[in-house]
Symmetry: C2
Subunit: 106 residues, 2 copies
């Protein structure tokens, strides 16, 4: 693979890698409804604040979310709501997997 092609797919992989974690997917899902601050997300997730903060940093670094400080709180929003279309395909893969499992039983 030539270097230019390799770099193209590395950049893509970085964005996808940022979403490749259950907690981060949950965060993206929550933010698709409305912006939320770290403590709100932490309460919903039920993990250490520092853990949630680090997940948010991963999403931010990938350009998936944006942060905005208001007082002592930091609010996060989806930077690219189209990210949700993303899941439609993922869901259809999951549905097809389940379908195939069923068919293997007949």
């Amino acid at each position: 693979m030539d270097p230019k092609t390799a770099s193209k797919f590395e950049i893509r992989a970085n964005v996808i890698k940022a979403m490749a974690h259950p907690t981060r997917l949950f965060i993206v899902d929550e933010l698709s409804r409305r912006e939320k601050c770290v403590s709100e997300l932490t309460a919903l997730i039920g993990a250490d604040t520092s853990t949630v903060s680090k997940h948010l940093a991963v999403l931010k670094k990938a350009g998936i979310v944006r942060d905005e400080k208001r007082g002592t709180e930091v609010y996060y929003t989806l930077r690219c709501p189209c990210i949700m279309n993303f899941f439609q395909c993922v869901e259809s893969v999951i549905r097809e997997n389940a379908q195939e499992q069923l068919e293997l039983l007949t």
Copy 2:
């Protein structure tokens, strides 16, 4: 997070994790054009055959590709071509990132 919600996002993450690697994204991209066998992909990628084979196993386990043996060769196809829509969104995130970088320079 309740167990049911957690499991929902774990399942999604498994599919996304399967794509979170440059080589596997390249494979998906190649397969979106036409089916290819392991040795064809190996030649394009330029890695060890066993490495490519393992990447394909990851994609297969996630339900993203399907394999079909013909003689000694194994051909892989995309199981869910909608996976390519996936990238439109990833590309737009990348474009927005680049755009923002530019704006920070002005």
